[in-house]
Symmetry: C2
Subunit: 250 residues, 2 copies
């Protein structure tokens, strides 16, 4: 049975302030919970149906709460709740920026929407980009919507919230720093390296000036036919998918 | 003022059955409404604040309903309502399938999520793919969430709901039919044509057998490093973005 205090904890994990205070976050569904249990993220509680528990073996340190499907449905943040909810410990990560000298990394400048953030983490996982630097204004990766959108990739990808302008300034003469701009160069005509940082900008305003001034490689994702007048733009997660694919193709 | 009957109409346009009966759909926000007013889709009602109306000139045949911002907020399906709602006439489109002999087209096999469908239409617009064939099981493009996700692209892209297996069977010996499969060929090593059909499959099950048997070019979007074991997959709209980008790059 889900006690009142656990139900209250689950509900409150929708708020960033509470998440920060208790250092916990919530993940739902077999795929996400399973991937997190297989990662180095530590689990505190598993709330699951007896069917789910019967088919999974869990480490002893996890507190297990057996619950009826209807109880889990009431506690869930999802529209189509599944038979399991996990409460996990946040990682408080710092990434050594010099990693960008040997690996390709992403940097996110004020990505606002948790769904976009989670989708970007999932794309990074697909393309083997393990490290993401986030500006302080970027959405919290432990927001339940962001966690959900990563589809378990959050267990494999490392995010570090930091001052992005300062980070880029320190790195700018040592590694290539890429960003997309409407007046950038056609990315298909540029040589793209296997290391460095790709900066992706805010949904409405793109890359802010404080970051933009440190970008050495200004790229453009061409539409088709190239130069066709369009009032359209690409959503930031679409743009990330296309640009990461091109880096990895090259 | 928004009358009770108009409010009822707006609310009911959330239901596919009602939309089909009255042949109408709803779009919200300046960008979407503006793009639709500039398309060949006919508008029936514009419900807007006096500020919005003061800065727009509308054709005479549109019935204009001036409303307070709070009224529009109450009527809106959006979390952050904007100052304008439009009610438009659906297009009932048929596309001649032979168009795929000269142009690149998409075919969607039971895409369930309206948000994914709308995002795919937006991607198609960016890459100059004007015609999309949809299976009967694909979400309704006039669902408010789908319309919203197209960000106005719905006015420029043509969708035709039809029996996809039958369509592909008719076309299969005449044009290349592409689809993505986990055991397909690396798409970066294939020659991709400027005409034909790219089939995208259902979120959970991929491309159904009835469509799959007519696909002549089985493609795979490689992850990175190629062959790295991964439990991940790509969301269907991400996969569409990456594959369309590669067709257009080539």
């Amino acid at each position: 049975m889900i006690s009142k205090s656990i139900l209250k904890l689950i509900r409150s994990l929708d708020q960033k302030k509470v998440r920060k205070e208790c250092g916990l976050f919530i993940a739902e569904g077999g795929k996400s919970v399973g991937d997190l249990l297989n990662s180095d993220i530590r689990c505190k509680y598993i709330i699951a149906t007896s069917e789910w528990l019967a088919s999974h073996t869990l480490p002893k340190e996890i507190e297990i709460i057996k619950a009826k499907r209807e109880e889990i449905e009431r506690a869930s943040f999802l529209r189509s709740p599944q038979g399991v909810i996990g409460i996990f410990h946040q990682r408080n990560e710092k990434i050594d920026p010099t990693i960008a000298g040997t690996e390709l990394c992403l940097a996110l400048d004020d990505i606002q929407d948790p769904g976009n953030l989670g989708t970007i983490v999932r794309i990074a996982d697909w393309f083997g980009i393990e490290h993401i630097f986030c500006s302080q204004g970027t959405a919290d990766i432990y927001n339940p919507k962001a966690v959900q959108a990563t589809m378990g990739a959050i267990g494999r990808i490392h995010l570090h919230y930091t001052s992005l302008p300062q980070l880029l300034e320190e790195l700018k003469d040592k590694i290539p720093i890429y960003g997309t701009f409407l007046d950038g160069e056609n990315m298909y005509e540029k040589r793209l390296e296997k290391h460095g940082i790709i900066v992706m900008g805010n949904e409405g305003n793109g890359i802010g000036n404080e970051c933009a001034k440190h970008i050495s490689e200004r790229l453009f994702i061409p539409n088709y036919p190239i130069g066709r007048p369009t009032s359209e733009s690409l959503n930031v997660s679409m743009a990330t998918a296309i640009i990461c694919a091109e880096f990895r193709r090259q």
